[in-house]
Symmetry: C2
Subunit: 352 residues, 2 copies
Amino acid sequence: MTANKFTPSCPLPFGENETVQLAHGGGGRLMQQLIEGIFLPAFDNPLIRARHDGALISPGIEGLAFTTDSYVIHPLFFPGGDIGRLAVYGTVNDLAMCGARPQYLSAGFILEEGLPVSTLRRIVHAMKAAAEETGVQIVTGDTKVVDRGKGDGVFINTAGIGHLESARAVGPDQVQDGDVILLSGDIGRHGIAVMAVREGLAFETTIESDLAPLSALVLSLFEAGIAIHCLRDLTRGGLASALNEIAEAGSCVIQIEEAVIPVQEQIRGACEILGFDPLYVANEGRFIAFVPKKEAEKALNILRAHPLGATAADIGFIEKPSHGAPTVLMRSRIGSTRIVDRLSGEQLPRIC
Amino acid sequence: MTANKFTPSCPLPFGENETVQLAHGGGGRLMQQLIEGIFLPAFDNPLIRARHDGALISPGIEGLAFTTDSYVIHPLFFPGGDIGRLAVYGTVNDLAMCGARPQYLSAGFILEEGLPVSTLRRIVHAMKAAAEETGVQIVTGDTKVVDRGKGDGVFINTAGIGHLESARAVGPDQVQDGDVILLSGDIGRHGIAVMAVREGLAFETTIESDLAPLSALVLSLFEAGIAIHCLRDLTRGGLASALNEIAEAGSCVIQIEEAVIPVQEQIRGACEILGFDPLYVANEGRFIAFVPKKEAEKALNILRAHPLGATAADIGFIEKPSHGAPTVLMRSRIGSTRIVDRLSGEQLPRIC
């Protein structure tokens, strides 16, 4: 996933005696501070500096992508999914975003004492089904149990390995002037679905998460020979955070058009009630692809031909070099242009 | 690590409404029940069935080992180490036990809201030092934050990838009749060191964990051309659990000699006071190697020439086929023979 990764740019200093806040896990500025202030200086190497959804491994093991995510979503079961499926799809999607075909997963469980075994069984069965669906094998694992009150039911870490499908590099540093930004579908459903069930909110119909495996959709673009420059899934921090990360990592200005970004009416309504901006709400089955302008229409047709990409849209383009600071600019429905900034804190805690 | 892995044999059924207990994470029979009753049936595939410290990956990516572990040790800092070093060494050691040279690690952090940033910094710096020491790169990562009271400071997951060093297979199914069992050093220090600090026990001198990276020691055996059949580190459940797992996975009888198993006097004393058997106490810098009898002396000399193997010993041998159930038999100091069984529950919770 995007913002979860060690993908930095301009650190805020930590005060003395500062403590970790929920917002440090939210995909916004505070997470950036944690990553840039602590993790990156320690683990610095070319692979981790690449600001990708996973590491493209070399030397030694060429052509391999390697990624990891921990899943701490609350509640464990939500409309449209559960932590087990999320833990498989999430890591499969990160490999897909590296331009890799997902192959092997590890699974590390941290269980809280008192967890019903029946709950664990449901989650594990969901992982099995998700692995079969996406063609990955869970080949190694680990289980730890922590005392009651020192965990929260189940936390799952998955790491994943996959073979790179594309001979060319795919990543934020590959975006080029004029690249078109394709969004694979409507945004905001995962975060709102989780929030609604957590807060006991009722809408006219149940809002379901968009949770889905993206590898087949991404691989269909590669198989059609589309020269994809960059891919990013829209998890913590949503579309706005993903675009900001790409703008910074790719040193470019990103221009998008509000009117063409698909948001379901029901999600728009829920966001208004809850005070959220759908641009910042997490998704678990949506991504953006940066492709050369001349291939954009073909790529869009490929996406739309797939059930998971039926509402895909061309939402904007890249300007590079940026002539100034990397920025994400959005032309609103009324024709004005505004900066789409990074979130400073946490909009929705523990949605993945 | 050994018992943490999905490495099964003969499941106990779960009762209805059963819940997860601390002992399900302890490396004994209950952990076996969890693995065999839940994880293995769901994730079944040849790689996970191999009962190894990691998966030897194929097809597609030949010659690669892949492993994972989550670290939930309490306290985060203990005599001789901390969760950061443990998280790097532990996964490095699992790769070494697969016969692989550790190369790339992922790091997934689950932080509890309110964790002092200074604590996180210390841990991350310890990981950096441990990675440099062992020649691995931490190439991808993830951070999640959970609400206060839903975690315990820091949990860390690392997954690791390494190239296999040995052309021949290394694993429990490779042990042969007459194989000599070499133990790399004295046992019981890690578990007792953690327990002592946790319980506020004072001994004449501070008991330090044996936490150490084992890859250099293991690689020195491979480099000398020793035909290692199997390797296993002695983490949760200690020497006794590791031997039981190998006996079951290798369908053999294991004979060991109590008098030659090195245990420091101070550890023996602490174990007597606390009611522990050092055979079952966790280590984080010890392993056993199964080697052909004719190479045992050479291998032992190689181990002893390394600071981490200075007290290495030949502690027994394999009888195969087993003529009956796989068993671990120990000749005691007074000449009697007893079965060294699996632990049923948890001896020391959260020691890794």
